[in-house]
């Protein structure tokens, strides 16, 4: 049964017709066309679909679309300001964390969720956040280094 939800994505309001089975990731990718949010698994494991919802990092494949009604959503597409990259993006690039790049949007958003709440997160807390993200390319070393560099850049801002 079709129903309508309204939500704000990257500061733009949308009203979307849904059938009920859709998750937030389906709305973002298929209805709004924001394909930077990636789908890598069926069981909430990989973290590639991470976005901010009401300021919290969430896996958008686990949020039923109707639960996102009224929410304020931020996706990877909103992080860079024109050609000026967000410090987290800059740091991950500089540390060599970007290989195939499929997990990277989710990791950027996961770290964004962490640092906007707790910029002085400990290394253990950074690792706790990154544990929500699977990467098959890097062995995580460059991602962890990139996360620490991002923190440094954000603090200096």
């Amino acid at each position: 049964m079709a129903e309508k939800i309204t939500l704000t994505v990257n500061q733009v309001p949308y009203t979307i017709e849904i059938e009920g089975w859709e998750h937030l990731i389906d709305v973002l990718r298929d209805e709004i066309g924001l394909t930077g949010t990636k789908r890598g698994c069926d069981d909430l494991s990989c973290g590639a679909c991470t976005v901010l919802m009401n300021g919290e990092a969430v896996k958008s494949c686990q949020v039923l679309a109707k639960r996102a009604s009224g929410a304020d959503v931020v996706t990877i597409e909103a992080l860079a300001q024109g050609t000026k990259l967000h410090p987290i993006q800059e740091a991950l690039i500089e540390s060599g964390a970007v290989q195939c790049g499929f997990c990277i949007p989710g990791i950027v958003m996961g770290l964004h969720g962490l640092f906007r709440k707790k910029l002085d997160a400990t290394e253990a807390e950074i690792a706790d956040t990154l544990e929500n993200h699977l990467c098959r390319c890097t062995g995580y070393e460059a991602i962890f280094e990139g996360a620490k560099l991002a923190q440094k850049k954000l603090k200096a801002r």
Partner: protein, 780 residues
């Protein structure tokens, strides 16, 4: 050689697109009129199809067409090596993930919903998940007509059995070698099924255009094989099939060879005019694409008392799954690379590539090397103990190197690199300090593995480059090599920058591959792109420079061999003030009156491994283009006594790569590769029950390392003994790092506890059980 760009940490050209989420992967592509497919998978792993009723599914909302494979095995059979694949099950199903029927609908959700309405009746047949069972006398045949399949010469199924190919390599006289040995050790090793598990699942879009063109997008690394095979099956000229490769979100092997594309093409062929998209769920990515490994390896080594290796016998039982086309060369590579990094004067190495009722096996980073050298590096450690020799001393007596001969019969030279130098580095990093003593909580151990990587490919595995100078002197380069994250676009750019003597930012490299515009490349496999693709780029650059010099010789009125080039000018070597700008040469040189002389500067080149050949059926020997790479790896581990949990505190790797092209990227290749098979060693296994059902086709159940499972520290070093084929002496690195971790870790487990494991993964449960069995309370 002093280099300006090669060897520098210059940012990869695709980083920004990927970090901003703008890079376009297969799932992100939307085309006008696009329809979506969902594919039904069978409930049995081996069964005769009695009936498929699609009538209810056809009535569902949004459904355009429902398709079965009835009759498809005659016209649509495919395969690059053994033509045993079908795009959809016809008459019988052979594994649990096989396509059995498909729904095409207006959206993916409708397609998936309609699948539930299809009813299937089958007659179950015996299921074999292991080669050793499928090889038993009287086993039911998985392919009754395997003898009729087209295959490459020298390989192929043995009719009346489940053997898809038997390969045997003989060097010297193994029986004599064992007879002359003072000590013989033997054991059986198991490297279970694994998934490459790229974070981006497989997927394809196929569009049969009304005008006869077939257009395909796929998350693949072999666009030209897809083009060739689809053209053959659908009886079109290859030029009428156009394959696009968007960004690929990780490969690690299983997106090589043609995998899902023929199935999506078959489905799309029922709705000409509409692009049809299919993207695997993670479950399908496990059960319905390609798996890796599936090998049981029996190995026997004979040696003299002084440690001189005399003979090696290896038998691989390879559970290659329901279709053998993609597993064939993995199996052969496992056999002939089972010597590891050692010279054995006498070898008898064979593999039984065996049909089983499991998903087909294909490339998995390392391509037979990790499996076979897991056995070699474990068994040589056991041999050292039996001989009472130091593990390094035994190995050092037998390393391959200049003057030594591989199992294939190839002579090695200085230019193949130095394993000894790599070993020395790893020894210093790991073994030259004292091992921590056992404490109440942990056992500590260190383990070593030497590795050898051959470039398993095919004789025709050339790579190409197209290079074009623009009017402002900037350059565009197209190659057919698939960027899957390994960073080859940056390799192309840096090699070109160095050779053309211009800043990398003046060189733009390709994003997607398009068979209509990209140079031909067989497929991007075997850790060969830097070496071969890099060489093709280097050659294309030299051709472009030669073109400019040719034109300049007319303009400057001198012999061409008196000219030099510095990136901005072509000039007279004896008097550099006599010169002409590159920008004035790139479209030919135009005189003031508008007259133009000389060629437009655009070059095309290819490169291949010299004298690479297939194998001689009598001996199994042949040539890999004498293109080997060596390395050494070591693990420092801790085993928690209470739980059996194995923690890798430090992992060290050193490879002789000839030349480091980009330090940060090559380190990333190694750190990523190491973690991949730390996973294989400690937690990864795709498991099937006795009915052939996959019991863990989800990331939550197929655990691969998270950041917390990765080694606490990695040391990565390189030796740079230049090779002669690759650009600036470079060799490959992509697959090498995954070879050593499982044997190094299992050797470290023995070092820590005195317990020998012969199969992976060594989970905490298995470790704990072994500790408990060894002594009460897990005491050493």
């Amino acid at each position: 050689m002093s280099l300006k760009y090669v060897g520098k940490n210059i940012t990869r050209p695709d980083a920004v697109q990927k970090a901003t989420g703008k890079a376009r992967f297969l799932a992100d592509i939307k085309l006008p009129g696009m329809l979506y497919a969902a594919i039904l998978r069978p409930g049995h792993a081996h069964a005769r199809i009695v009936s498929i009723d699609t009538s209810e599914a056809e009535k569902c909302e949004g459904v355009v067409k429902v398709i079965t494979g009835k009759g498809c095995s005659q016209k649509y059979r495919y395969g690059d090596n053994i033509r045993d694949f079908v795009p959809m099950a016809d008459e019988k199903v052979r594994y649990i993930g096989e396509p059995l029927a498909a729904v095409i609908a207006k959206n993916p959700h409708q397609a998936k919903e309609a699948l539930k309405k299809i009813t299937v009746q089958v007659h179950p047949l015996p299921v074999y998940t292991q080669a050793t069972d499928a090889l038993a006398d009287g086993a039911t045949l998985i392919h009754e007509a395997s003898g009729d399949y087209w295959h490459l010469p020298g390989v192929g199924p043995k009719p009346g059995t489940n053997i898809a190919t038997h390969y045997r390599l003989k060097k010297g006289d193994a029986a004599k070698g064992f007879a002359e040995s003072d000590v013989v050790v033997e054991a059986e090793f198991k490297y279970p099924f694994g998934s490459c598990a790229a974070i981006e699942p497989h997927g394809s879009i196929v569009w049969f255009h009304e005008d006869g063109m077939i257009e395909i997008w796929s998350s693949s690394i072999c666009p030209f094989i897809i083009r060739e095979e689809v053209a053959r099956v659908y009886d079109r000229p290859e030029s009428d099939v156009r394959v696009h490769i968007p960004e690929v979100g990780g490969c690690f092997g299983y997106k090589s060879d043609i995998t899902v594309e023929q199935t999506v093409a078959y489905i799309a062929s029922f709705v000409p005019g509409h692009p049809v998209k299919w993207v695997a769920t993670r479950k399908e990515d496990f059960t319905s694409t390609l798996l890796g490994h599936g090998m049981v390896i029996r190995m026997k080594i004979g040696a003299k008392k002084d440690g001189k290796l005399m003979a090696l016998a290896t038998t691989v039982y390879h559970s290659t799954g329901a279709y053998a086309d993609t597993g064939l060369h993995v199996s052969i590579a496992a056999a002939h690379n089972s010597t590891g990094a050692y010279e054995y004067p006498n070898c008898d190495l064979e593999t039984f590539l065996t049909y089983t009722n499991t998903p087909p096996i294909g490339a998995w980073r390392g391509y037979g090397h990790p499996e076979a050298q897991f056995a070699q590096e474990r068994l040589i450690e056991i041999l050292a103990r039996k001989l009472g020799m130091d593990r390094f001393a035994l190995r050092e007596k037998n390393y391959l190197g200049p003057g030594k001969i591989t199992s294939l019969g190839e002579h090695l030279w200085e230019t193949n690199g130095s394993i000894q130098k790599c070993v020395d580095v790893v020894k210093r990093t790991v073994f030259d300090k004292p091992r921590p003593p056992e404490d109440p909580e942990y056992y500590y151990g260190r383990g070593f593995a030497a590795i050898m990587k051959s470039p398993k490919g095919a004789p025709f595995s050339s790579k190409g480059a197209y290079l074009k100078f623009n009017a402002d002197g900037s350059v565009v380069i197209n190659c057919g090599g698939a960027e899957v994250g390994q960073g080859l676009r940056n390799v192309v750019r840096l090699v070109a920058a160095e050779t053309l003597k211009m800043p990398p930012e003046r060189i733009h490299v390709y994003t997607e591959i398009d068979t209509q515009f990209s140079p031909w490349e067989w497929q991007t496999i075997g850790s060969m792109f830097t070496k071969q693709g890099g060489r093709a780029v280097w050659r294309a650059c030299l051709k472009a420079i030669a073109q400019m010099k040719q034109t300049a010789s007319q303009v400057l009125r001198c012999d061409v061999d008196l000219l030099d080039y510095d990136g901005e000018y072509v000039f007279l070597a004896s008097d550099p003030s006599v010169k002409v700008e590159v920008t004035k040469l790139v479209r030919g040189y135009m005189y003031e009156n508008g007259m133009v002389v000389g060629e437009v500067v655009q070059a095309c080149a290819d490169a291949r491994l010299p004298r690479y050949s297939g194998f001689d059926p009598a001996t199994g020997q042949g040539s890999m283009g004498v293109s080997y790479t060596f390395g050494a790896q070591a693990a420092e581990i801790r085993i928690e006594k209470k739980t059996g949990k194995i923690i890798v505190d430090h992992f060290a790797s050193c490879f002789d790569v000839g030349r480091v092209i980009q330090p940060q990227q090559i380190r990333g290749q190694v750190t990523g590769g190491v973690v991949m098979t730390v996973g294989a060693a400690l937690c990864e296994e795709v498991r099937f029950d006795q009915d052939g059902k996959c019991v863990n086709p989800l990331f939550r159940k197929y655990r691969f390392p998270t950041i917390k499972d990765a080694p606490k520290k990695q040391t990565v070093d390189f030796v740079e003994t230049p090779g002669v084929i690759g650009p600036y002496g470079a060799r490959g690195i992509g697959e090498h790092p995954v070879i050593g971790p499982p044997p190094a870790i299992l050797n470290a487990i023995h070092d820590a506890t005195g317990i020998d494991f012969f199969e992976i993964p060594v989970t905490p449960e298995k470790m704990k059980k072994a500790l408990d069995e060894k002594g009460s309370g897990g005491e050493k």
